[in-house]
Symmetry: C2
Subunit: 330 residues, 2 copies
């Protein structure tokens, strides 16, 4: 970090550290991903707050070898993480996130070479809502969102355990957002309780998925959930198709609620989907059944976003545009 | 069973055998409960199909000692039970249930006195809906419902793991019904996943419960579920109140869906609540917040219902009105 980096040179370790996954990338000064590695060492698996020991096996070579800054987003900045980084209020964009980075001490293992950096920079999450009506929060998705092209307002949907619907302005800042518990409900109902009891290991059934989406679109989720069980009891669908029927019902109910919650923005253009490809395909299929246009965002949006924040914060120095180093900030 | 019984004489063992509970009562020929006993030996706890061994410790003395018929309702008549009794289609009343009783062999233990009956009579469940739109089913609630006074049409709500809303005609027969997964969702979300993680052991909070009911009434459950987590993160409610906030949201969403599903019947009079007193109190409070009148049904409705079915089937012979014994039926 003593001199600006050129294209292809190691310049940043980007870390997407969620509840159940840890994804890292080695980036050059232009924000291009040079290497990527994934693991399941999510925040909730870290023991005794020893985050350095969880990170070291995955990318200790980059961390110790290249002496480049480490920038992380996600649940690592939560109460269950390395340090509880305060949420920023909306609207918030890249400049706000960059200004509010928090540095946490990440003690390298005793075996690490002398001079290995002991600082982890953490991107804050965002909050919306108020005390009267309740809040909503995100950690990590604000960074992924920066991987979508700016210039026009966008309704972005990031499906997952906690699916996020984000109203993003033309300038790239987050105006408002809404969390849906869809993935978590799917996991709970697929592994516990009376619906799980009639399910067999899933084999993709477009018919069952589409039926679920259609019933959620035309009715209420509350009225339909128990039908997953009776569809098994009465052989309406094969036991191996019930998982997709449930998936269709839950995703359909999310779309119905989200398209109503963000009705104005939804009318202005396609929904941008960002997330794991298998899940993006399901949401795209369901949105098309709702008659709504979709487009898929880039797969490595989170690392583009981390590079953008790093550049704005002066953590990434390019030969072309040197900027102040974060260490010099108050 | 060789001679008609008089008031106060043992005439029937009534058995309400659900997934997670086993409740038994000793009844006289008028259907009056002489003794009641409860246990947690629900159908899902029975090992290797040995239902007799599960029943014997709770009421072997009645079973062997009085030589009266055993009549059961609930999940004991399901695929996971002693025998899979076919569902009856709606509309169905006491006469239909009585005609469709199924006899299953319930071998008494070797230590039982000679002559101990080895027959369990089982009440069938009901089904509604069709293959195109999906079915709904019940087992046990059809019998509980017979404990409510007839004469006028009634919208009955039986809250529980699987809450049942029942459209019952003036003649006492079930016309239609709808299951809500409310209790199961509450259990899953209270014990697993991201909402459970912010909850403390519950202490009743009317404020949090009422807030949940109100938000479900005025909005959509999908939009509110994650707020249980943020209410904990942001200290909107105490951690010990979050359980009641979730309970209010889920019950409120059920009421909204149910009052719409049965809108015509709901306008005709109060909702009759039937179930565990603590749960009935929650539903009554929530229905009142919806501006809807309520009345509570009798606590031992299921045994009144079993007595009614037994009498109709000729299993209960009163001195005043002898009727054919079931054993004489084809």
């Amino acid at each position: 970090m003593d001199k600006p980096s050129a294209v292809g040179e190691h310049a940043l370790v980007g870390i997407d550290w969620g509840s159940s996954n840890l994804r890292v990338a080695l980036l050059d000064a232009q924000g291009q991903v040079l290497q990527r590695r994934d693991s399941t060492a999510g925040v909730f698996t870290v023991r005794d707050g020893n985050f350095a020991s969880a990170l070291w096996p995955l990318c200790g070579d980059w961390w110790a070898g290249h002496r480049v800054p480490l920038l992380a987003c996600g649940m690592v900045g939560s109460r269950q993480g390395l340090v509880d980084v305060p949420y920023l209020p909306c609207p918030a964009g890249a400049a706000d996130l960059a200004r509010a980075l928090v540095q946490a001490s990440l003690q390298p293992p005793a075996s690490a070479p002398a001079g290995t950096t002991a600082t982890l920079h953490i991107v804050p999450g965002l909050q919306t809502g108020d005390a009267a009506t309740g809040h909503d929060v995100m950690r990590g998705e604000e960074t992924q969102l920066l991987g979508i092209a700016t210039g026009t307002a966008a309704l972005a949907v990031l499906p997952g355990t906690h699916s996020k619907w984000i109203d993003r302005g033309a300038d790239g800042s987050v105006h408002d957002f809404q969390t849906y518990l869809t993935g978590e409900l799917f996991d709970l109902l697929s592994h516990h309780g009376s619906l799980a009891r009639v399910m067999a290991p899933p084999q993709w059934s477009a018919q069952a998925f589409d039926a679920g989406v259609g019933e959620a679109r035309d009715g209420r989720l509350e009225d339909r959930l128990f039908r997953v069980r009776t569809a098994g009891l009465m052989d309406r669908f094969a036991a191996a198709a019930l998982s997709d029927y449930l998936s269709g019902l839950l995703i359909g109910a999310e779309l119905k609620a989200g398209l109503r919650r963000f009705a104005t923005l939804a009318r202005q253009g396609p929904v941008t989907l960002l997330g794991a490809p298998a899940l993006v395909r399901r949401y795209a299929r369901a949105l098309q059944a709702f008659g709504h246009p979709v487009q898929a965002g880039p797969d490595d949006a989170v690392f583009t976003g981390l590079a953008t924040i790093a550049r704005t914060a002066g953590l990434l120095q390019t030969a072309a545009s040197p900027s102040p180093r974060l260490e010099a900030r108050p």
